[in-house]
């Protein structure tokens, strides 16, 4: 295709315009309950223009909700990395370990966050007020862990034998082999895992908040559905998408930094 000036800007804008048209037409014709773009904007204005306002527990600016969600995601995500990275290392290093745990991982991996959450709530039933938070953390961690686990394992297995031979000739201790050779050699793979995990963690947050009713983007979305304010469902979806996109870009930047090493 021939390139023209500003195609990087105009072509995506064209895409957005198409979607807007489809949205308007749908709400005017077959989907009567779907608010039109203009109605959505009118109903969302306060939430977008005063993004950090707090009018009540479930009536806050959209970025304030986002901030709550991000905090919870961050906790669950770091928990996932903390647990997932060592598991990945063991999987990559030991064939026996792989044989023992690989089937379990393959079975647990496709389980939906919606299935994990009730289990998480049950697990922390005795925690009282904190049960919801802990259950959500558990769900985020266990769902977002797998890409980190699997990519780390692949990375460890892909460490060139030559590098390991250098370690053997120098008789490096296990610790030094890990920190000076294995870890740096695996880092690019690990970061790919970290990026994918963050994407999943952000996916899970919405489900977790919907079911626990916590303040956050997902909780807001569910509450407004129940309150019949459908415009805010769309506002929430757009926010979730934008934040997810931003997180992915950020991780890509980090990843690129470590790739050169």
């Amino acid at each position: 295709m021939k390139k023209f000036k500003l195609d990087w800007l105009l072509l995506p804008l064209f895409g957005f315009a198409l979607i807007l048209v489809a949205w308007s037409v749908s709400s005017a014709t077959w989907a009567g309950n779907l608010p039109s773009p203009t109605k959505t904007w009118q109903a969302s204005r306060d939430y977008v223009l005063q993004p950090f306002a707090k009018r009540g527990e479930m009536d806050q600016g959209i970025l304030r909700f986002t901030w709550y969600s991000l905090q919870l995601v961050a906790k669950g995500y770091f928990l996932a990395l903390l647990i997932g990275t060592p598991i990945g290392f063991f999987l990559g290093l030991s064939k026996t370990f792989t044989k023992i745990f690989d089937p379990i991982i393959q079975i647990l991996r496709p389980v939906s966050p919606l299935a994990w959450l009730p289990l998480g709530l049950v697990l922390f039933l005795n925690a009282g007020k904190e049960a919801g938070t802990l259950g959500a953390l558990f769900t985020i961690a266990i769902c977002s862990m797998w890409p980190t686990v699997l990519n780390t394992a692949v990375g460890v297995r892909a460490v060139p034998q030559d590098y390991l031979n250098v370690g053997r000739v120098l008789k490096l201790s296990r610790w030094k082999t890990l920190t000076k050779i294995l870890l740096p050699a695996t880092l690019p793979y690990m970061f790919t895992g970290f990026r994918l995990s963050l994407g999943i963690a952000w996916l899970v947050i919405v489900a977790a908040e919907m079911l626990t009713g916590r303040p956050g983007v997902g909780g807001f979305l569910w509450q407004e559905y129940n309150a019949l304010i459908y415009e805010h469902i769309i506002l929430s979806i757009i926010t979730i998408g934008l934040i997810g996109f931003a997180l992915d870009r950020l991780m890509s930047l980090l990843e690129a930094r470590f790739k050169t090493a």
Binding site: D162, Y163, N165, V166, R168, V169, L170, K171, L172, K180, I181, P184, A185, A261
Partner: protein, 289 residues
């Protein structure tokens, strides 16, 4: 006098899926004196690198054994400095850090400043004084191999093992690095074993050239003494008629005789393992083993 390095009846076989094990090297015998420079030459795939890898302790020995200054070689260790074909520098460390990684291991009693000096000394000798704080990606292939050589020498090893270290370099760089290597070898008075398939390289560097027969089941074919005075200069060698004679012999071996297996007096074959005696099931415990 006891040899510094003694390789006796060294053999390597790999099991294959269809049963008959693949014999790479067998009955490999070689004695090396302290301070000697030996090159191992042969067609590619003949198993020279396998021999070197067993010496380095990176490949398990199937049969026979290796004794280096009174100690059996059975694992890798920094008493043997290895220069790999691809220099195998760790890409996330600078040239200096790559050398320091080994120096820290060997001179763990020295203080940081002394260790730094050792690493810097060897990097300077190989000509990397100005580039020692660059990463391998920023260095040319030749500079990387210089660093590989510095790393091996900086370990102050009993022996140097070089696996076609100049195979990937253009010929000008190769000449330069051969001289760097020879200089350091003479200064540090090391014993060295180098694998190569370059006839001129072998003649320029070594005291003896060990020619290996073709695989499978490769072994020592002939050994050529190279008695040019040291220090050597390439120019002198090229003017010496003996050089061409030796060269002829080497090439003659590689082209005509490398497939001929040397006639060796076979050691008495070990008796075939006796079939386990069949014991009657219930009385088995009573029969003396």
């Amino acid at each position: 006098m006891k040899p510094f390095l003694e390789i006796s009846q060294l053999g390597k076989t790999y099991p294959t899926p269809n049963g008959a094990p693949a014999v790479i090297v067998e009955h490999f015998d070689l004695k090396i004196r302290k301070g000697e420079f030996i090159t191992l030459i042969g067609h590619s795939g003949c198993g020279k690198s396998t021999v070197l890898s067993m010496l380095a302790g990176l490949t398990d020995i199937t049969t026979g054994g290796i004794i280096l200054s009174g100690k059996e070689v059975n694992s890798a260790g920094p008493d043997r400095g290895v220069v790999f074909q691809a220099p195998c520098l760790l890409p996330w460390m600078t040239a200096f850090e790559n050398v320091m990684l080994g120096v820290d291991q060997v001179y763990y009693t020295a203080d940081t400043e002394e260790r730094r000096q050792i690493a810097e000394y060897y990097l300077t000798v190989v000509g990397l004084a100005d580039a020692m704080h660059q990463r391998p990606a920023e260095l040319s292939q030749g500079m990387r191999q210089r660093c590989g050589i510095a790393r091996a020498f900086a370990l102050s090893p009993k022996m140097l093992l070089l696996d076609e270290p100049f195979g990937m370099l253009d010929s000008l760089t190769r000449y330069e690095l051969q001289e760097v290597l020879l200089d350091l070898w003479q200064k540090d008075q090391k014993t060295a074993l180098m694998v190569t398939h370059d006839v001129d390289e072998a003649l320029f560097l070594s005291d003896r050239v060990v020619m290996m027969t073709n695989g499978p089941a490769a072994t020592v074919g002939e050994i050529l003494e190279v008695k040019f005075p040291r220090p050597r200069s390439r120019q002198q060698l090229l003017e010496d008629p003996l050089y061409y004679e030796l060269r002829e012999q080497l090439i003659g071996f590689l082209e005509e005789r490398s497939h001929v297996r040397p006639t060796r007096i076979a050691p008495p074959a070990p008796p075939p393992p006796a079939a386990p005696p069949r014991r009657p099931r219930f009385l088995g415990a009573l029969t003396p083993a």
